[in-house]
């Protein structure tokens, strides 16, 4: 397993995605979402500043995490992605593990994911900027660039697929309320899942 890990790490370095320096601030609901700029797994540059006027969802993702698997194996995440990207939401899946672009794309394809783009947070820059703790953790940014939701995907913090059906989905609720011009009722929750793996900052 160690050798696989090293191999992956080497791939990740080879295709390292370099983020522009960021002012590191905590991602707090009601405040401007931390800026980001990077290249996704298809080579497209994604800047938060270019996404003004659109809702943006950030989904922290570790393919092997049992909590993430719960939402993909049930089809719940794909359904959410399809529903909201159809309403012009930009859905960015942030991969917090040392995969290559090809591996990440392959994994998302295998799961028939419907996200707008995927990128690999190889050096944990984005995780630090947003203080992401878990996979999955969800952030919703409104068209003005304000963070309007930070937390869990829903109110059932388990790995059990049977819990998807009865869960209250906070992301869908935040998007629905905000698009209707209402205040987001539940804007901050405790994210649940696997700990985001932080890679030591290179300085």
């Amino acid at each position: 397993m160690m050798s696989t890990f090293r191999l992956l790490a080497r791939y990740a370095v080879a295709t390292a995605i370099l983020f522009m320096p960021l002012a590191i601030v905590a991602a707090r609901v009601g405040e401007p979402a931390p800026a980001f700029s990077g290249v996704d797994t298809n080579g497209v540059t994604r800047r938060l500043s270019d996404l003004k006027g659109k809702y943006v969802v950030l989904e922290w993702h570790h393919p092997g995490c049992p909590y993430t698997k719960k939402h993909y194996d049930s089809g719940n995440m794909q359904k959410l992605q399809a529903e909201w990207t159809a309403k012009s939401v930009v859905w960015l899946t942030i991969v917090a593990s040392p995969l290559t672009s090809e591996q990440a794309n392959g994994a998302m394809r295998e799961r028939k994911a419907k996200q707008t783009a995927t990128w690999i947070d190889a050096d944990s820059t984005l995780a630090r900027a947003y203080q992401a703790k878990t996979s999955p953790q969800m952030f919703v940014i409104d068209p003005q660039g304000t963070l309007i939701y930070n937390g869990a995907i829903d109110d059932k913090p388990t790995t059990d697929i049977a819990d998807v059906a009865g869960a209250h989905n906070y992301v869908a609720a935040a998007l629905t309320e905000s698009m209707a011009g209402r205040t987001v009722t539940t804007a901050t929750t405790r994210p649940y899942g696997c700990a985001v793996k932080y890679v030591s900052a290179k300085s």
């Binding site: 890990f5 992956l8 698997k69 194996d73 591996q103 392959g106 930070n150 696997c194 700990a195």
Partner: protein, 319 residues
Amino acid sequence: MPDLRPVSTFFRPPNRPLTRRLRASVITATLGVALFTAAGTDAFATAEAPRLATTPQGSIELIAAAPVAPGDIWLGVRFRLEKRWHTYWRNPGDSGGPPTIRWTLPAGVSADPFVWPAPERIAVGPLVNYGYHGDLVLPVRLRGPAAALSKPFRIEAEIRWLVCKELCVPVRSRLALDVATLGVARTDAGGVDARTRQEWTRLIAAARRAEPRPAPTAWKATATADREHFTLTIQMDHPASSAVFFPLEESQVDDAAEQQVTVQGREMRLHLKTSDQLTAIPRILRGVLSLPSGEAVVIAAPVRSASVASTPRSSRRPS
């Protein structure tokens, strides 16, 4: 197609050909819901659930103490985790989740929640979890009419628990135990011998003794809070050099932040950063205070808001 991924390939890129995946000598079957379980942990295939299940990450076992009085039945869920693996306290901290249990009990009998010993702080990169390494017993008291508890009966339990190192494995274990209530001497009690039964009794008693006790009445705990910090002040009946605070509720205290402790005589003051997820200052800050002596005390400190209105927010934020 069933998911045949063994646990050890957690970091395996999912698009690797199936033929190259490890064919486990131990099958990790997926029950159609992709909740993969580790070797031998899953007893669903057999009609008779075992008392003990073993996984590559550790074992889980149902045990019972010899009753000190008829009808006074204490059970325990005993974990013996492999080196460096951990499972979680009732408040897991930044990630993870606590073990949960669903009992199948005789009519009229119910089970109390787990008794949780004080946890340890477990650093995972820059995050902190609250949990346990090594050996752990979570005692549970059964309740019910004396008539139901005074004769031998069988119980079953489905336990879902998450065990983590760098990676996490969710495990679902179905265990069963024949609870004999007539005393240690019965060799058929739970299908184990008297010596094992004594060992179980000792383990459960020790775990119950390790339960954090309510703060002595002589203690006084109060807290002040602003947007950034709780300051918890505890007047104790004896001096202690330091302490660790484990919040009972999630999303109040920043789990990963360093806890600054100052001691003056019998007064201890803890400076705790508030959680990013704190939406309203709680009226009471509850937690377990763990002291170097091994003592663990439950604290419930009324919280006074420290001049939230009088201090402009901008002045309290680092520039």
